[in-house]
């Protein structure tokens, strides 16, 4: 559980930390799309430069970013090798049946590797510098236009924030149930796969039942405190769009223009 860096918050006061969550989410999603504009080495250099600057400005140590890549490393390498082995074109270095190691294959493989790593880095910049609750607020604010299409945006936001708030509670409870079952003689993580799965039942059932109880009690509390689904509610959390947020979006636009220019012209074509 400790390995997962995505969704963790790294407290700090950096420039990136202080950005509005809306700006950060938009910028990150936008970056992922813009990434596909890159088609030659100059564009990749530009994107890498941007990624590194974003990482630096977040003031989070690089090793934490690297840790974020680690769980996905096998997936990345697998895709990269497939690219290398099955893309033909350009100078051929090695050929054996359908397997071809070619110039294009190597270049494509490298590009794909870059894309993967940059997507992970940029999304980790967002999750590391934004509190989960601010992220939900940001998502909520960005989904607002969907209200017109009868999407229950507020309900989704409330669900998200309640789930986030209960994750530590559920983890605690899981731990407690596990300890309680262990004290009664259950052994976890031993024996064959089937046996291991069976030992999970005495954890899941109590957790499931207690979640139901929790949900009921909570629904009561919410109802008594005047929560009515679909009613207009004011909001205690407010998001403020600041100068730096506009700057952030301007940077994204500049980046796009730069990419478009490098893509067509190429600096040293």
């Amino acid at each position: 559980m400790n390995k997962l860096i995505l969704g963790r918050y790294f407290p700090g006061e950096s420039w990136v930390h202080q950005l509005d969550p809306r700006a950060k989410i938009v910028a990150a999603v936008y970056f992922i799309f813009v990434l596909f504009l890159a088609n030659n080495w100059q564009t990749y250099v530009l994107l890498w430069a941007f990624t590194f600057i974003a990482m630096r400005y977040s003031q989070v140590p690089i090793r934490i970013y690297l840790r974020g890549v680690r769980p996905l490393l096998y997936l990345i390498l697998f895709t990269v090798f497939l690219q290398i082995l099955f893309t033909a074109g350009g100078k051929i270095y090695f050929e054996w049946g359908p397997i071809v190691i070619s110039e294009y294959g190597l270049i494509n493989g490298f590009y794909i590797f870059c894309r993967f790593v940059m997507i992970i880095f940029v999304s980790t910049v967002v999750t590391l510098t934004t509190k989960p609750i601010d992220l939900t607020d940001g998502i909520n604010a960005l989904l607002k236009p969907l209200r017109k299409m009868k999407v229950p945006v507020d309900e989704i936001a409330l669900m998200l924030s309640i789930s986030l708030r209960f994750i530590p509670n559920l983890l605690d409870e899981t731990q407690k149930v596990m300890d309680a079952q262990r004290a009664r003689g259950t052994e976890f993580g031993e024996g064959s796969l089937l046996k291991q799965m069976k030992t999970l039942v005495p954890i899941f059932l109590p957790l499931f039942v207690s979640s139901l109880n929790r949900a009921e009690e909570m629904a009561n509390v919410m109802e008594v405190r005047g929560y009515q689904s679909g009613a207009t509610r004011s909001s205690f959390r407010q998001l403020y769009w600041k100068h730096r947020d506009s700057v952030c979006l301007c940077v994204m636009i500049t980046l796009t223009l730069g990419l478009l220019w490098l893509r067509n012209e190429g600096l040293f074509h």
């Binding site: 009561n220 919410m222 405190r225 929560y227 205690f236």
Partner: protein
């Protein structure tokens, strides 16, 4: 006499219609504005059910509940809930917001209160329960008692005229329990707040204006604590009364009537 703020008439309730025994049968009582009523009774006597009926979470089989003149039913319950708040026992499941101040604001958001007013109310409520320093904490950093205080603040922020406490002080340490009880007593005096507290703590019940003793879904007695503790010697009495009984059984010539802590101290001094 003024019209009572809560009037319960011949309330009868059971969870399962097929069963014979009723959780509450023919319960009637009324509470005046600004009164503190303690509801006591052993487990399973129907205390919590009564509390949930009062806030409209269940609807009664027979009988009626009037709060501030409005009869509680499916259509009026939202209106009634603006006047009555409830604090439950389990602090974890009552914490809806992601931080302390968000949770306190939750009820205010629901009534669509403008942001500026909300801020003032939240600030004030946090101050009342002594949680101002922890306003930005998330629930995982709080103890059970602190969460309970936040739950109470969330109700206070709504400024109800009646607060129901369903064993709300169970998780609190003696010190914060005393300080919160003091705050509530003050609020009761100042703002004519009506408090109904369901409790097993007889010391707490002894500070109430009146006590309602519930037994197997029926009202056994509704009277001042002095009267109740005198009449029902099978109840676990508050500390001062216990001391008096001990002294009396040891042969000391203590008065044979119920005494509060203050009275007992005064008597001992003499």
């Amino acid at each position: 006499m003024l019209q009572p703020i809560i009037e319960v008439n011949n309330l009868t309730f059971q969870y399962d219609q097929r069963l014979e025994d009723k959780v509450l049968s023919d319960v009637s009582f009324s509470v005046q504005k600004g009164e503190w009523l303690a509801i006591v009774g052993s487990n399973g006597s129907g205390k919590s059910t009564l509390a949930q009926l009062l806030v409209g979470l269940y609807s009664s089989l027979l009988g009626s509940i009037h709060i501030n003149g409005i009869e509680l039913n499916e259509t009026s319950k939202w209106e009634v809930r603006k006047q009555i708040g409830i604090v439950f026992q389990n602090p974890d499941n009552q914490f809806i917001g992601s931080t302390v101040q968000d949770d306190v604001a939750f009820g205010l958001e629901n009534i669509n209160m403008p942001y500026e007013e909300m801020q003032v109310r939240v600030e004030k409520a946090l101050e009342l329960v002594g949680m101002t320093d922890m306003r930005l904490y998330d629930p995982s950093r709080l103890s059970g008692g602190q969460k309970q205080r936040v739950a109470i603040a969330g109700i206070l922020a709504l400024k109800p005229s009646v607060i129901v406490m369903d064993e709300a002080f169970v998780m609190l340490d003696p010190k914060s329990r005393r300080s919160l009880l003091n705050t509530l007593h003050q609020l009761k005096e100042k703002e004519q707040l009506t408090i109904i507290s369901i409790t097993h703590d007889m010391d707490e019940a002894a500070t109430a204006d009146r006590m309602l003793l519930l037994e197997a879904g029926k009202v056994k007695e509704i009277a001042s604590p002095r009267h109740v503790f005198q009449q029902h010697t099978n109840l676990e009495p508050p500390f001062a009364e216990r001391l008096r009984r001990k002294l009396s059984s040891k042969g000391a010539s203590v008065p044979s009537t119920y005494m509060t802590e203050k009275e007992l101290v005064q008597w001992l001094w003499k």
